[in-house]
Amino acid sequence: MRFLTFILIIGLTTFSMAQEKTAPDFTLPMLDGSNFQLSENIGEGPVLINFWATWCIPCIAEMKQLKKIYKKYKDQGLQILSISIDDPKTVGRVKGMVKSKRYPFTILLDTNSEVFNLYQGSNPPLSILIDKEGKIVYNHTGYRKGDEKKVDKMIAELLKNEKTIEK
């Protein structure tokens, strides 16, 4: 059975290089209690989904950099969906942290990690960049200082391509 698992992994790796995946749709509550549905917010510009948690040290470091990226591109249509995977024990901390760290993103609550699992999350942070058509163009887990440069570059390319198509 282990051999079968190994063969499956190799096979899927080969296939996955070619396949462009659609971002799964979801509905999650926001901090003010209202619902947010992804499919209703696709099409305006790139969407960066960032899964994080209040107890995740690299997530906090990454969000500081995402603030700068958001400031740079928000007027060009970039949306950042910052999805907290804090469970019922720590979800109470999310609002306080967002206020005191002044995060400007749309904050969503995935209290039992259902959407995190839907996006194949294992450990936060997990960043998913979605283009205007709803396709996943970048998928990265973890954060090291400097990773934000790749995200910045990918967003700039998406915006540039969108402008070219519009012309």
Binding site: F15, S16, I57, D87, T90, R93, Q120, H140, G142
Partner: protein, 484 residues
Amino acid sequence: MHTRLILTALLLLLPLTIFAQLEYTATTQFEMAVAEKEESEFLENWTDLGFTYQNWRLGGRYEIHEPFASFAQQVNRQLLSHYYLEYRQGGFSARAGTFFSLLGRGLVLRTFENRTLRWDSNIEGAKLDYRHKRLDVQVLYGKARDTRELDDNSAASNRGTETPRTPAFAAGELKLKPVRLAHFGGTYLRQVEESGDSVRFQRGSVYSELFLNNVSIYGEFARSEDIDREGEAFFLSSNISFDALSLLIEYRNYDNFSFFGGKYNNPPTVYREHLFTLMNRAQKIQDANSEQGFMLEAAYPLLEDGYLLANVSLTDDQAGDQLYQDIYLQFDKDEFAGGEWSLAAGRQEDVAARSWNIAGSASFDISDQNSLKTTYEHQHTKDNFDRQYYTQLLTLGLSHSPGWTLSFLGEHSTDQFEADDYELGDGGIPHSFWGALQLDVNLFERFDLTVFGGSRRKGKVCIGGVCVVKPELQGVEFTLIGRL
């Protein structure tokens, strides 16, 4: 037979991805240790496959577990642990097979997965979920998996293909949102399959949420009637903010409220989960049968690029005897002496010991892509027998974005119970040391490989009041996570 049939079906679907508008996802997590001591060797793998066609999803997970001899009460298993067929459309989803569920804040029911804890309490059955502007509804029926029940055979010899499950139950949640500022809801769970005539358990709760501009409040009251006892639980959480100052106030009172020993409900703990390793090791294990207490937390952006956090929590049992107390202070400062700093101090006290902690971390940019991070933690402990010892932990890591991180992890303790093989220092104090190198590599943006080599101390790992003891490791450990 059952497993092979489903795996074959999944394999047959794979070629169809080329011809049809069928998308697939695959995730695998492989962990293995080669250790000096046989009891700390293990091999585990979780492989998920999922196929999506328009609004439909079909998938499953195959698991291989050959864990530590006694880790987390797990036994050797190879099984198809998850399988599902799901339909999603807007805020509606229907799923048959295995799934997780959270009702309210988890007082009545919470099933979830945490691989660090080797915890997977998935439910086998069916679930309907609907989220709308004015109401949210969840209805489910099924049997929850028991991941903490040992089989009759010993862990080493048993090769199970199934895990025990609870009797079937039906449960649901209804949340009404008449106005944006106030939501009201209720949850209910009842056993529906029973060999005898009477219902073995039923439990329910009512809750409300208020969303004002600078104040938000969540309160939930729950009651349970099990075959041999009745229980009650109450949880309150409130966020208050004054400009950038934010306050979190939480209170809980749980009396006879654990569901199958806490395997299927997971009420909020109301004490801080620490970011630093040593403080987190001293965390309390939750007992929802007899706990009450509060937590206060204040956070404020202090100085330029600074952040101050203070936290106090107290836990008593239902008789009023103190079980756990935690006082914690943390200050973070960016852009100071060329780096980012975090300093913390804390005092923890449980029924067996008191500990005083200091901890700090600093990270520095060496270049655009390279950074250095170091963390130091010191914990001084005095137990009820007046035995005193200290533990210190040092990590040093060099990271290169986006490719790799190389870290040194070292720990030193004078705890005599750890000193099977120690060297006596001045005054006859036993000293124990553990040290390791760890390499984390990101490959092709789809794989994360971690190689750990050296020794690691046996220790408690706690997440949300659920704790497991990981055995000592002397050897090499590999972890590979792939997302395709």
